[in-house]
Amino acid sequence: MSFDKGARLLSHLTALACFSALITHDQFAWAWSAAGLGLILISFYFVLTEHPVRPSPHFWRGASLLFCLIFLIDLRFAGALLAACMHFLVYLMVYRLFHLERSKDHLQLYLICFLQLLAAAGAGSGFGYALSFIFSAALLIWGLVVQHLKREEESRPAALPARSFRSVIPFSLMMSIHLLSVGALFPTLLIFFLLPRIGIGLFQGKQASQKISGFSEKVDLGSMGAVKRDLSLVMRVVPSDGTKGAAPYLRGMSFDAYNGTAWKNTLSQKAPLPRFDRTFEISPGRLAGDVFRKTIFLEPIETAVLFTVGRPAGIQGNFPSLLRDRPGTLYLPSIPIQRTEYEITATPELPSEGDREVRRIDYPPDVREHYLSAEVSPRIVALAHGIADPYPTVYQKVEAIERHLQTGYTYSLEVAPSARPPLEEFLFFQKRGYCEYYASAMVMMLRSVGIAARLVTGFLPGEWNEPGRYYLIRQSDAHAWVEVYFPGGRWLTFDPTPSAPPSGVALLNAVAAYVDWMRFKWDRYVLRYSLRDQFAILEGTRSRMGHFSEEIGDWIALMKRSVEKASLLALAAAGAVTASIILFYRWRWSGCGWYRMQGKSSKRGATVVYERMLRLLAKRGFPKRDDQTPWEFVRSIERGGRPIDAVRILTELYCEARFGGKTFTSDDVRQAEQLFVRIKSTFQSR
């Protein structure tokens, strides 16, 4: 088999492997699969039998036009960009398969194949994808190496007879390429399995407190279901200036009415916000002080609540409308199923001097109506008065109660069930609880001493991701805290909950931070693809695979879950391929034998050695000018008064091979190596 034919067949196999990845894709119609497969096989057959007939250029011109048309129709009527691109890729692939002449054609084919893999990964698929991906990756490495040799082959004079596949790629080379492929596969698999798991719990440090609730639109102290600590991602908050700044509380809902066990928002009538272009105005004309902007990437978490920071002035985002209830909580028109991206312009809500001095607040009627009613036991009222009364100003009273709760109680997620009302249980008996207990107790105690307050839920700032410069917020960062009314209709934030213990191991956290950053970039710029979607597909495929036995099913599900991250895998594989190519070049460049010894590449091999010598001499202060001929250069060094026999002989070897077409024997190679060493020692670094 001739080398050229072998290379073509290999490219066909690669195309087949990558195309089968595409077939596994749900959005890829079977008709397309059949047509693509058929055409690949026809082309394969043509190459195999060295069939002389080829479709005419006119045919291809027509086909290209047709496919541009189909692409447009796909876009216009099917409306699916991905499907349209996939169809077009298939056409490009078939076109290239029928036009494989020079090595650049092959390389273009590989690029198309890679794009196919990427397109198929973009919407995830199944076990079949994993298989075809592994095959494709191995074949692509093969293909790239073979193409490199093909380029060498193309530089040979056309008159020489074509060489066989075996003579160009001897057994040892074949084995090393195989090893390379397998070697590339292992790190890939490692990344493949680990990447999706880092940061989701595998590497998180074990903590005593394993139970915490996520965000929900209900706050019910009565129901004590065991809620697992949920580390899944909720949102990423990117400060516009990239500085960490003061950690923001992400405010969600507020609650006004407490019935003894649960909180309720009685002011939930919503009204749409005014909108200008993409901007929704929340508090027009009140932008004073330190304005900051934060971009929030909110994952779908089964709530329509839009989280805000500080005192928001405006929100920019691609939503059709935005609703606000009376306490100021923002809602999307419907529960989002995709990641929501929006930018908040806000000012920090900080206490002013006046706030700290005020001793009595005249509450407006609606505040008095909703935020002062405290139906709690006299014991709590007495406790509140006992703590607050010694202080004259409102602010000091609030701080005193906050301090009392922070210092006198233990943060715990384990609250034993009891028959007593939850707040009394918390304040006087167990003296332990989590944020909702702290916040509820504080609100009730404030109200008992006549200070208007409300309970607010949302998220703590989570962890700062240093490489990506954003805050990463998980479900476990859900929190409840307190807002207190101050004159001017402003609500200031107080948090009676003592700060939670830090989590995780520092080093692994740093690793996890990098991983999350990569994932964020990848999701954001390549896939726009959320965990939730992946879970949905995972569930779907799992149910489809239901008839498999439980064990196999589990294993496949595990594979699938990883395959959803195949996009990352593709990236990793591309990296591995690049790395191996670089290694290959370095190996060749270092001139360790087989490459230069091959007769056909003496010309280049000699040049490589000669250039190495030039680089060495240039480093030692003898650069060769471009216009100098080899012997002029030798003479110019001679004038420098150095013994240069070795340079002379190496130059002669180079000239013979480069311009005389002399074939390098292994003796020549050895001699060249020795000469090089001699030159190196002669021209010691100054």
Binding site: E611, D627, P630, W631, G660
Partner: protein, 309 residues
């Protein structure tokens, strides 16, 4: 290697006659082997004619010499048809050009008209007189000598004539030691050299030269030089394609003379000033200045063209 020996013999033979000019001798041999014509230019009395004559006499073939003067006519070179009363017909009597080696001594002392009589002979190897074409013997080589153009009583060679010479060399004054040797031996040696190569040997050497490898990148290098001469700033004429062809042939011959079966960039760079500088014409210079200006321009060009690695 036989051919190598032959060349060595030829060179040594010529060097007996003309001392201290190995480079000029080598170039003369290169011209012979590349089937070209040689123009030797220098002031009178430095050995131009000696070089030409010794080269010619070193080869066992016919050699004629024409002393070019201002009253020389084309028919004096080419020959004339003469009426033969016995046969009652015109018969062509060949001129001195019908020879293997023609020494055109002081070629620029004659008129351009007579100079041009050589054009056809040098290019095509035949001459046409009265619509009748006569072939010249093979090998055919013209060795012309000329005094620098600004000397008294000279007619500068027309461009078309210059273009037909493969290379133009200069001899220059010999250095003191060589000059002393010349004076010492002047009495002893009669200056007559014996032939060391036969005509057939020369022809086979010329054939072997054509087998010398010239790598493709060297052709690119050569063409880059040619093109650079055409882009020269104060230039009225650049190097012709014939010039490029001549350099290619000369490079092969030089490689051969140096005992190589392949050309090097060195060959081309070394020959380029010799082969090209009489082909480029600079604006606004007198003929004498122009020649020196062209040399300088060639050196400048060679300093800018990168040599292929």
């Amino acid at each position: 290697m036989e051919s190598r020996e032959q060349i060595q013999r030829l060179r040594q033979n010529i060097e007996q006659a003309i001392k201290g000019k190995p480079e000029a001798v080598k170039m003369a041999v290169v011209t012979l082997l590349s089937r070209g014509h040689l123009l030797i230019e220098d002031v009178p009395g430095v050995g131009k004619t000696t070089l030409a004559a010794s080269l010619a006499r070193s080869i066992e073939c016919t050699f004629k010499r024409i002393q070019f003067t201002s009253d020389l006519l084309p028919s004096d070179i080419l020959g004339v048809p003469i009426f033969d009363p016995k046969k009652n017909a015109f018969e062509f009597r060949p001129g001195p050009i019908f020879t293997h080696i023609l020494l055109a001594d002081e070629i620029n002392r004659t008129t351009p008209k007579t100079q041009s009589a050589l054009l056809e002979a040098m290019n095509d190897g035949h001459v046409t007189v009265e619509n009748q074409t006569y072939s010249l013997p093979d090998p055919f080589m013209v060795i012309a000598t000329q005094n620098p153009s600004d000397h008294q009583g000279t007619y500068p060679l027309p461009e078309s004539q210059l273009d037909r010479f493969t290379m133009r060399i200069r001899l220059g004054y010999p250095d003191a030691a060589d000059e002393k040797a010349i004076l010492l031996k002047a009495a002893a040696s009669s200056g007559i050299v014996k032939p060391v190569l036969t005509r057939d040997e020369v022809l086979s050497l010329q054939k072997e030269v054509e087998q010398v490898t010239l790598e493709e990148s060297l052709i690119d290098y050569l063409l880059a030089i040619v093109q650079a001469t055409r882009r020269l700033r104060d230039l009225s004429m650049g190097v012709s394609t014939r010039g490029a062809l001549f350099l290619q042939r000369a490079a092969r011959a030089l490689a051969f003379v140096e005992g190589r079966a392949y050309c090097l960039p060195d060959d081309i760079k070394r020959l380029a000033p010799l082969v090209f500088s009489h082909r480029i014409l600079l604006k606004g210079a007198s003929p004498g200045q122009a020649l020196h200006g062209a040399d300088a321009a060639m050196m400048e060009i060679l300093g800018t063209i990168p040599v292929p690695l």
